[in-house]
C-alpha cells in the first residue's frame, strides 16, 4: 500500500477541519473544556489528521470472553465486571482532543464509554485516595494519575471512538481516556484501576516521564521529569 493509499484508506484519517464544540449536535455530549480554547493545540505540539500508534510492548491479545475490569485499593466495594457487564453500565459521550507526549495532537474525537465518576461512585472511593494507578493488559503496564484528573467530568473508560469500537492497536476493547492530560495517561487495554493514598510511578513514569503530565502547564507541557 502506498503512502497516499494508506492516508486515503486509513479510516481514522481526518479529512475535515476540527469542529468547534458548538458545532457538535448531540445534546447529551460532555464537552472537554480544552476544546473551547482559542488555540486547541498546546505549545510544542502539532496537529495530526491521522492517529499514530505508539505503545510499550505492542498490542496484547485480549479475549472478550475472559476480559474483566477490576477496581481495588482504597474503595469501600472492590468491583469486577465482565465485558458484557461493563458495556451495560450507563454510557457517556465525550467530545475531546488528544495530546500525545511525542508532540502530536489529534483534535475532534468523540468517545463513548463509562464515566470514571460512575466507577468511582459504585466502588465508594475512600477519602484518603489521592491517586489512581491504571492497570493494563499489556504485560503489567501501568500509569499513575492524580485523582482530581481521573475524576474530571470528561474522563472515561471508552469502548467507542467516533461511534466505532476502538481498534485493538488504539487500545480497544476498553481504553481509559483522560483528555486533560497527555495521552499516555489514557491507558490502552485497561484492565482496572487501583485507588492509592500516595503517588506510585507507572511504566513510563518509572522512566522519567512526568507524574502528572498536563500538556497546558509551563512553556512546553509536563512531559518529563528531567
Amino acid at each position: 500500500m502506498s503512502f497516499l493509499d494508506s492516508l486515503i484508506k486509513d479510516p481514522k484519517y481526518q479529512s475535515h477541519d476540527p469542529r468547534k464544540p458548538e458545532e457538535i449536535a448531540e445534546s447529551d455530549i460532555i464537552i472537554s473544556p480544552d476544546t473551547r480554547r482559542d488555540n486547541r493545540v498546546p505549545q510544542g505540539q502539532s496537529r495530526t489528521k491521522r492517529w499514530p500508534v505508539l505503545d510499550a510492548h505492542g498490542t496484547p491479545p485480549i479475549d472478550l470472553a475472559t476480559w474483566k475490569f477490576e477496581v481495588d485499593g482504597l474503595v469501600e466495594r472492590p468491583l469486577m465486571f465482565s465485558f458484557e457487564e461493563f458495556t451495560q453500565l450507563p454510557p457517556v459521550k465525550v467530545y475531546a482532543d488528544f495530546h500525545c507526549v511525542t508532540r502530536w495532537s489529534r483534535l475532534d474525537n468523540i468517545w463513548t464509554g463509562v464515566s470514571t465518576r460512575e466507577i468511582a461512585e459504585r466502588a465508594g472511593v475512600k477519602p484518603e485516595a489521592k491517586f489512581v494507578l491504571a492497570l493494563a493488559y499489556d504485560y503489567g503496564w501501568t500509569t499513575n494519575v492524580p485523582i482530581e484528573y481521573f475524576l474530571k467530568e470528561d474522563s472515561l473508560f471508552a469502548f467507542l471512538h467516533d461511534g466505532q469500537p476502538i481498534p485493538p492497536e488504539h487500545g480497544g476493547p476498553v481504553r481509559l481516556i483522560i483528555p486533560q492530560l497527555y495521552a499516555w495517561k489514557s491507558a490502552k487495554w485497561v484492565r482496572g484501576v487501583r485507588f492509592l493514598e500516595s503517588d506510585q510511578a507507572g511504566f513510563w513514569e518509572e522512566g522519567g516521564y512526568h507524574m502528572r503530565g498536563n500538556p497546558w502547564v509551563g512553556g512546553d507541557g509536563e512531559r518529563f521529569r528531567w
Binding site: H57, W204, E205, E206, G207, G208, R223, F224, W226
Partner: protein, 153 residues
C-alpha cells in the same frame, strides 16, 4: 548486584528521573559485562552490533594509525559507548579499552533500537548526548585545523 546497579543508573544525568524499577528494566534488557584493565571492548573497524552504558571504571577511546595509538577521550560511569556506529550502521570509528577494572551494561543492536523506538524520552536524551559529543569533536577539529592553518601562514 543488579539492585545496586539499578540504584547507580538513577544517579547518572542521562537517566535523571528514572526510578529503580525503570532502570531495572534497562538492566533486564541487557547484559552486565565485567572488564579487566587492558581489555578491549570495542575495536575500530569492527561491525557494530552492540552498545554499552559504562557503570563503573574507566575506558579510553583511541584510534590506531600506522601502528601508533592516539587517545581521543576517556570515559567513565554514565557514558554510553558504541551507539553511534550501531545506529548509523557503520563500522566502529574508534576502539575502546578499559584502563581500570570496569563494569558495563551491554545492549545488542535490536534491544537498543527497540528501547529507543518505544521510549521517546530516552531516545531524545541519547540522541542529544550523542550529537553533543559529535559537535564537540567537530569543534575540536575545526580549531585544530584553524591552528594548523595559522601556523602555516
Amino acid at each position: 548486584m543488579n539492585e545496586s546497579h539499578a540504584e547507580l543508573i538513577t544517579t547518572f544525568p542521562l537517566f535523571h528521573g528514572f526510578t529503580v524499577h525503570g532502570t531495572q528494566r534497562l538492566l533486564d534488557a541487557g547484559e552486565i559485562k565485567q572488564l579487566t584493565a587492558g581489555d578491549v571492548l570495542l575495536k575500530e573497524g569492527d561491525a557494530a552490533d552492540f552498545a554499552v552504558l559504562v557503570l563503573t571504571g574507566k575506558l579510553e577511546v583511541f584510534i590506531e594509525r600506522d601502528g601508533r595509538e592516539f587517545a581521543l577521550t576517556e570515559t567513565g560511569p554514565g557514558t554510553i559507548l558504541g551507539e553511534l556506529a550501531l545506529l548509523c550502521g557503520i563500522p566502529r570509528s574508534a576502539s575502546a579499552r578499559a584502563t581500570e577494572d570496569s563494569t558495563v551494561l551491554e545492549w545488542d543492536d535490536e534491544t537498543l533500537r527497540t528501547l529507543l523506538l518505544r521510549d521517546r524520552s530516552l531516545a531524545q536524551r541519547i540522541f542529544r548526548e550523542t550529537l553533543r559529543t559529535l559537535v564537540e569533536k567537530e569543534q575540536e577539529l575545526v580549531e585544530s585545523l584553524a591552528k594548523s592553518q595559522s601556523a602555516k601562514s
